[in-house]
């Protein structure tokens, strides 16, 4: 039977528990959100002892299901003040699941000063004083811990931004090469880990595919079928491995929905092509150490990751679309080398790249540094790790910068920075930003699929019609995928191929000896959202939080000259059914 591991930082004790029956069918976001709903008072301070950081592998993680290595992190967000789940790839999910752990719950808070790490292995869990590791960047920290405990360990950790409890801090984990670049970035969960003074959790598991499967033969048939579905689809089988996620830069710009210069009124960036996936892939092939078609965890058949060689020989792996947008078009920076440098700083200091990009855009809007000034952007971001007042302002996210400089053009919802799709010309995405319990989060219901990419049908991105239903359906399906441990990119084939979702259900049924239907899986998604919304209500959220910033409704975006015009009543109807 799988167990729950509780790491109590008040007492520095680790305790294993049997998994309560009601948690057995849950995994990933379904489990992190349920435990947060059950154990964290919604009105608690996110950086004090009553908040918890819950870490849960998805339901299929640790099996041979393709692309199933997503690890969910949940808690009350210091950035949004609501419930948060952020998930990441990397090697830790499969290892945690293979240790027989359904979840790790980090709880309590030390009364004493100090820094600790936890080491989780088949022999148990040790909590070890680690003052020598305080303040370390994640790259050095991960290298030290791999040296100390073996090169195959997974390392979940915090950079200085998390230790300083800045609201833009993410939680890092590593890929197979030891890059601490796999981020559960959004919502400031790194600050929650920092509040517990747990610098790192080392996952030492001899197995990657060690999770028991009830009917191995049926599972194997379904897993092979699912791999074929992923590989046969042109997006997951060809586009993503060839160019990575940054393949989006040009199409989003050409469609006129790329936020440029801190969400100005222009939806196209004239230098998009210079920072897009095609240019990135060319540089990765030309320079030593570069790679495309890189897998972030064993068994991923999509392999959308890349390794970008920086001019001084360091590798930033990967450079993703939202990061290239946040530090590129959003700041009017046209150099992939600068984008990679800013990305690397975030990875090392422990910041979410999207929040940092949006925050830097607001800083530029304020005139504190100029748009398009590469050196000034790098210098400003470097202040975060130093803990200077300017660095702390930036590291606390876009809203915080906006307040500090009295900027009113701040693209956030529930305090979280809006990512790389302008909601005025991709209105389905605007509905998701406004209504997701996670705050502005493109992954919560990725309407770009039907609005721009023509995957899963087509809904005109400039019109209000159809966006509510599109966003609602995607938010429900996404919640279910986030429970499975599958990478969200399986959604591209699943939306187009009617065999996709039934095959996921076949894998779950074979693994757990269940008789689930696709309706059951979607019902799980609905029920997860309901719990998350109830948590947010308890935390004090009202309908007023489900709105986009005012300027999106008043300032027209070129070239289509549209505003976000979906009414409040329509937004309020998203979760009424």
């Amino acid at each position: 039977m799988p167990r729950l591991l509780r790491i109590n930082m008040s007492t520095r004790e680790a305790k294993y528990e049997d998994v309560p029956e009601k948690y057995l069918p849950l995994g990933g976001r379904a489990l992190t959100s349920q435990i947060v709903c059950d154990e964290v008072p919604p009105a608690c301070h996110p950086l004090r002892e009553f908040n918890k950081l819950v870490i849960a592998p998805g339901l299929l993680s640790g099996t041979t299901a393709p692309s199933s290595g997503r690890l969910s992190f949940g808690g009350k967000s210091p950035l949004t003040g609501g419930i948060k789940e952020a998930n990441a790839g990397g090697i830790c999910s499969q290892k945690i699941a293979s240790l027989g752990l359904k979840a790790i719950v980090v709880e309590g808070m030390p009364k004493e000063q100090g820094t600790w790490i936890a080491k989780v292995s088949p022999d148990g869990t040790e909590i070890i004083a680690a003052d020598d590791l305080a303040g370390k960047g994640t790259y050095e920290l991960t290298a030290i811990l791999r040296e100390r405990y073996g090169s195959k360990v997974g390392v979940i950790c915090n950079g200085p931004a998390g230790e300083m409890m800045l609201a833009g801090a993410g939680v890092a984990s590593n890929d197979g090469e030891g890059n601490s670049s796999r981020y559960a970035g959004r919502g400031g969960l790194g600050a929650v880990l920092g509040s517990k003074r747990l610098k790192a959790i080392v996952i030492d598991s001899p197995a990657t595919y060690g999770v028991p499967v009830h009917d191995k033969e049926k599972f194997s048939v379904a897993a092979k079928k699912f791999a074929k579905i992923l590989l046969d689809h042109p997006v997951s089988g060809t586009g993503l491995p060839s160019y990575g996620t940054n393949v989006l830069m040009n199409v989003i710009s050409e469609a006129g929905t790329l936020p440029v210069r801190n969400f100005s009124n222009n939806g196209r960036f004239e230098h998009a092509n210079e920072i897009g996936g095609e240019s990135l892939a060319r540089i990765a092939k030309e320079r030593k150490g570069g790679r495309v078609a890189h897998a972030c965890h064993p068994g991923c058949v999509i392999r959308c990751s890349n390794a970008y060689p920086m001019p001084d020989g360091r590798i930033c792996s990967p450079v993703e679309y939202e990061t290239a947008w946040g530090f590129g078009a959003n700041l009017e920076i046209k150099s992939l080398d600068t984008i990679a440098e800013l990305n690397y700083i975030c990875n090392d200091v422990g910041l979410d790249t999207i929040e940092a990009g949006v925050a830097l855009g607001v800083l530029m809007e304020a005139g504190a540094i100029p748009f398009g000034d590469d050196a000034a952007a790098i210098a400003a971001l470097n202040e975060v790790g130093k803990g200077t007042p300017a660095g702390r302002i930036l590291g606390n996210g876009a809203d915080f910068v906006g307040k500090a400089y009295s900027v009113t053009r701040v693209a956030t919802v529930k305090g979280q920075g809006i990512p790389a799709y302008d909601p005025r010309a991709c209105k389905g995405m605007g509905v998701t930003y406004a209504t997701s319990p996670m705050g502005a989060d493109h992954t919560a219901g990725y309407a770009v699929t039907a609005n721009i990419l023509k995957v899963g049908g087509f809904v005109d991105p400039l019109k209000a019609e159809g966006q509510i239903e599109l966003s609602r359906n995607l938010q429900v399906a996404t919640a279910a995928i986030d429970a499975s441990g599958l990478c969200l990119f399986v959604a591209f084939p699943v939306l187009d191929n009617p065999d996709g979702l039934p095959t996921i259900v076949e894998m779950l049924n074979a693994q757990y000896d269940l008789t689930l239907t696709t309706d059951d899986v979607l019902a799980l998604g609905k029920s997860m959202l309901k719990s998350e919304l109830a948590f947010n209500e308890g935390a004090g959220f009202t309908k007023a939080a489900d709105r986009l910033p005012e300027f999106f409704c008043t300032d027209k975006l070129a070239p289509h000259n549209t505003v976000f015009d979906i009414s409040d009543a329509e937004l309020d109807s998203v979760f009424r059914t």
Binding site: Y243, G276, E278, Y321
Partner: protein, 78 residues
Amino acid sequence: MFIELRVYTGLEKYLGISHGEKMAVAFDGDTTIRDILGRYNIPAVEVTAALVNGLHKTLDYCLQDGDRVSLFPPVGGG
């Protein structure tokens, strides 16, 4: 009459230009996007998104002078 044509994400191999490079393409009278694909031997099946001035159009769209046409194979990410 001319259009501004840009192709991306592998389609550039059919035109012998770089991805995203602006190419002025002359045309007369009733010419569709499909006609342009035929002229350059770009297989229609490889074009998922044909954006004209930022709007999705079918391959049977009749080109207008000055149109900005951008062609993409299936792409996704996020």
